[in-house]
């Protein structure tokens, strides 16, 4: 039997680094200061509270119990990407969670290292000190499929929380085969890489506990210079950082929430709602709308929010929105009118909904046919597609209050 455990690292979305005010924008070449490059005498500033809050919320979403305080420890080792010669890493923020049937041992916070290019011998320290959250699982996965399911579910949770924006997962993969020793492969930076590592390491039991690195270019693992058994990180509490009190934020567990929502609407839509960040809006909507209506509206809302770059987490359906929904339900307005009304709300425009009863369709069609003599002639000569143009003209005049299919029917009656 194969047992696989993961230590997954993700960047929480924060404006600044964990212990200094340098921006986290990773493209920048100049995001560094005396603190994040560990210049002699520099000390850490107060740990980024946004990063701590995000770590707590993630731990809660994974069903962990939240600790009362965290302490930052120094984990010592030499590597060119680690300017201080130690990495600051917190004690667990939360422990004892579960996701996709995999037990979560703990979630904690740490600082990222720089980016080392061994071929050039250069390090970019812009990434040094960027907050990193580590999710440690128990070795509860037994196949590539298990791992794939877990990672995809984890990715859903991170999307649900609006946790990240770089969507980069790095993982240390621990594998033991049958009764063999544990093989640890460090810093695998893609899901494809993780799958390859599992393939490579699950063929036979290892006789000794060993640490390996994954060579992305060669798609091969190789044994690290340092032996696992010789490594002692000499953890000590960082004397420069007093312990930090933390408390739950009230974030619900993702899987429980998913179960709840999936009982109300189809699973796939439930997932879309959670992952896209529309859950707060959904909570409002479900009291006033039928499941079919919600399903219909979700894709419209998501599309239009995305087009306008609005965070779905910030979208709260207002009374005007529900008025539109009600009018559409009672067929007072058309779908077209409802959608453009919704867009007006998003754009902050005055909402105008003309009732379709007030329009004299016959008169409008007569007007249009008189004005569009050329189009009428084209239609008579057999260019039937011109009908769409005429439908459009009628819709413009009626403010979209009439179903376009009905207009087309009426137009055809008059033209033939």
């Amino acid at each position: 039997m194969i047992r696989i455990g993961l230590e997954v690292h993700v960047h929480p979305m924060t404006e600044s680094k964990l212990f200094c005010s340098c921006p986290t924008s990773l493209e920048s070449d100049v995001s560094m200061c005396p603190i994040c490059t560990a210049q002699p005498g520099a000390k850490p500033m107060a740990p980024n509270s946004e990063a701590i809050k995000k770590a707590v919320m993630l731990a809660e979403a994974l069903g962990c119990k939240i600790e009362e305080k965290i302490v930052f420890l120094r984990k010592h080792y030499f590597y060119p990407d680690l300017p201080a010669g130690f990495q600051r890493t917190s004690t667990p923020v939360g422990t004892g969670g579960k996701l996709a049937g995999v037990r979560i041992r703990e979630v904690h916070l740490e600082e990222d290292a720089g980016r080392y290019d061994p071929r050039k011998g250069l390090v970019n320290y812009s990434r040094a000190g960027v907050p990193l959250v580590e999710i440690v699982t128990e070795p509860d996965m037994h196949s590539k499929d298990d791992v794939r399911v877990f990672l995809s579910r984890l990715s859903d949770v991170l999307d649900f929380l609006g946790f990240w924006n770089d969507k980069v997962m790095r993982a240390d993969v621990n594998i033991s085969v049958d009764h063999g020793e544990r093989v640890e492969v460090k810093e695998v930076s893609t899901i494809k890489g993780i799958m390859k590592v599992i393939e490579l390491e699950s063929s036979q039991p290892s006789k000794e506990r060993v640490t390996k690195h994954f060579d992305e270019a060669r798609q091969a693992t190789k044994i690290a210079r340092e032996k696992e058994t010789e490594m002692d990180y000499r953890f000590i509490p960082d004397p420069d950082i007093p312990k930090i009190k933390i408390s739950p934020t009230g974030q619900e567990s993702y899987e429980e929430l998913f179960k709840k929502v999936a009982a109300e609407i189809p699973e796939e839509i439930a997932r879309t709602i959670l992952v896209s960040g529309l859950y707060p809006a959904y909570r409002e909507m479900k009291n006033r709308m039928e499941p079919e209506e919600i399903i219909e509206w979700i894709s419209i809302i998501l599309g239009d929010l995305k087009y306008r770059n609005i965070d779905p987490r910030k979208f709260i359906p207002n009374p005007e929105f529900f008025m539109i929904v009600d009018k559409l339900r009672s067929r007072e307005i058309t779908r077209y009118q409802a959608v453009s009304g919704f867009r007006d709300i998003l754009d902050g425009k005055q909402l105008k909904l003309r009732s379709k009863k007030s329009v004299d369709l016959d008169k409008v069609i007569t007007d249009v046919l008189n004005e569009e003599g050329d189009a009428v002639k084209k239609y008579a000569r057999g260019k039937k597609t011109v009908i769409h143009y005429l439908v459009g003209s009628v819709m413009k005049k009626t403010g979209g209050s009439i179903d376009p299919k009905k207009i087309e029917r009426e137009l055809k009656k008059r033209l033939e």
């Binding site: 005396p34 002699p40 005498g41 520099a42 000390k43 030499f78 300017p83 420069d240 950082i241």
Partner: protein, 447 residues
């Protein structure tokens, strides 16, 4: 020529012309006393903004050499101003970086990698350390004010040996930002001067909460009432601090000094022996020191050793450029923090510290101050004491304040065999201003 040793108050009130003349003269003095190695870096043509200031070479000043007197940082230039220095730079004249034991590791003040610092009265003796350069430069009149550091006695020892004043503030009162770590939970940046007035002037400016040092405390001290008489302070005298191995002549001098003011004297005891406290320190400090010294690997800054693989570079750099004392502490600290040994030594040492803290807190319910000699011996000759453990034991009288986070000052109270003797006044946490007051009263009472 003006008198070099006038009170600091008068220097601070000098006209600009007089001050410029004074500083030119002090720069000449620095040249004249070059062999005393009080400075590792001297400004050539400093802008005169106030009294002359020496800054210990383990404190960062932007654009100036920062080596901590260790070859591993040779050629390194500070990239930012330490907070304490930044608060002084607009009304002092930065004269240069003063010598010290590398990274503050030493009690003799004489072990800089860049030349031995010598006692101002006898060049064959040590000046006390690790802030030795400050003690010498103040004593010789080269500077009027100085910033030093004190972890377990580093400012008070040279103050005592050189006959000047050095004060370790309460832990958390002065930002450590820019101080090269020795033992982070104990390190302090310290004012040094030739009189208590100079110390108060410095401390008033450099103290305060700093977002760049999370261990600093938001507290307001009132220096405006300084100096004011204290009525019949109760002085605690720790009997252990006056017994062997403390030189009897030093004990007697301090014992005679205490009753020169109207004070109540109370004999007090603690159950932890002073040498056990020193041993606990030499267990905790190396762990913190080894951790902070990890950064000196030759990758990022300072000098770089030969090698192609990063591990080779780190080994070469550290083997070649760290002094034996630094290696001793790093190896010790590395060993003590390993899985096998940490409980046996490190945890025990921490519990010794917390026990002493408890007992001293209790003593301060009955007394206002603790007074003792600062150093157990007179300045020794360079070849007289070479055993590291014997030198470690020179810290027996200066350990209680750092272990308990308390303020402590050393003021000169006389001499034995022609060498100055310092008396240490310890106050309760954040009782820094009262310590200064009492020190000022003794200063006047003795004069």
């Amino acid at each position: 020529m003006q008198d070099l040793m006038i009170p600091t108050k008068e220097i601070l009130e000098m006209e600009k012309d007089d001050l410029e003349e004074r500083i030119r003269y002090q720069l000449d003095l620095a040249e004249k006393y070059r062999d005393f190695h009080s400075f590792v870096y001297l400004e050539e043509d400093p802008a005169v903004l106030g009294p002359s200031l020496g800054v210990k070479d383990n404190i960062s000043v932007k654009g100036k050499p920062l080596t901590s007197c260790s070859r591993i940082l040779e050629g390194y230039i500070g990239t930012y101003d330490a907070t304490a220095y930044s608060k002084l730079k607009s009304d002092t004249t930065f004269l240069g970086k003063t010598s010290c034991d590398p990274f503050g590791c030493g009690s003799s003040g004489a072990t800089s990698d860049f030349g031995r610092t010598k006692h101002p009265l006898d060049p064959s003796r040590v000046p006390g350390g690790s802030s030795g350069g400050n003690g010498v430069a103040l004593s010789l009149g080269i500077v009027d004010l100085a910033l030093g550091t004190d972890t377990f006695g580093s400012a008070r020892a040279p103050a005592s040996f050189c006959g000047v004043v050095g004060m370790r503030p309460s832990y958390g009162l002065v930002s450590r930002y820019g101080l090269l770590d020795l033992s982070m939970s104990l390190d302090t940046i310290t004012p040094m001067a030739r009189d208590v007035y100079g110390i108060a002037w410095l401390l008033e400016r450099i103290y305060g909460k700093d977002e760049h040092d999370l261990t600093t405390v938001d507290i307001k001290l009132d220096f405006s009432q300084f100096p004011v008489d204290l009525k019949y302070p109760r002085i605690g005298v720790l009997t252990d601090c006056f017994r062997s191995p403390v030189d009897e002549r030093i004990s007697r001098l301090v014992e005679k000094t205490i009753p020169k003011l109207d004070v109540d004297i109370v004999e007090v005891e603690i159950s932890t022996s002073l040498d056990l406290l020193v041993k606990a320190y030499y267990t905790i400090m190396p762990v913190e020191f080894a951790s902070s010294m990890q950064r000196y690997s030759g990758f990022l800054y300072g000098k770089r050793g030969k090698g192609t693989h990063f591990q080779e570079i780190a080994i070469e750099t550290r083997s070649d450029l760290l002094s034996p004392e630094l290696k001793r502490r790093i190896i010790l600290g590395t060993a003590i923090s390993t899985r096998e040994l940490r409980d046996k030594y490190y945890s025990r040492a921490l519990s010794i510290f917390s026990k002493v803290r408890e007992e001293v807190d209790k003593i301060f319910k009955d007394v206002d101050f603790l007074i003792s000699p600062t150093m157990p011996v007179l300045p020794w000759r360079f070849d007289e004491i070479v055993d590291p453990v014997e030198i470690y034991m020179m810290d027996i009288l200066t350990g209680i304040p750092p272990a308990c986070g308390l303020p402590a000052i050393s003021i000169p109270v006389g001499s034995v065999e022609g060498f100055p003797v310092g008396m240490q006044i310890i106050g309760p946490r954040f009782g820094d201003v009262d310590v200064l007051r009492l020190a000022r009263m003794y200063e006047e009472g003795i004069a």
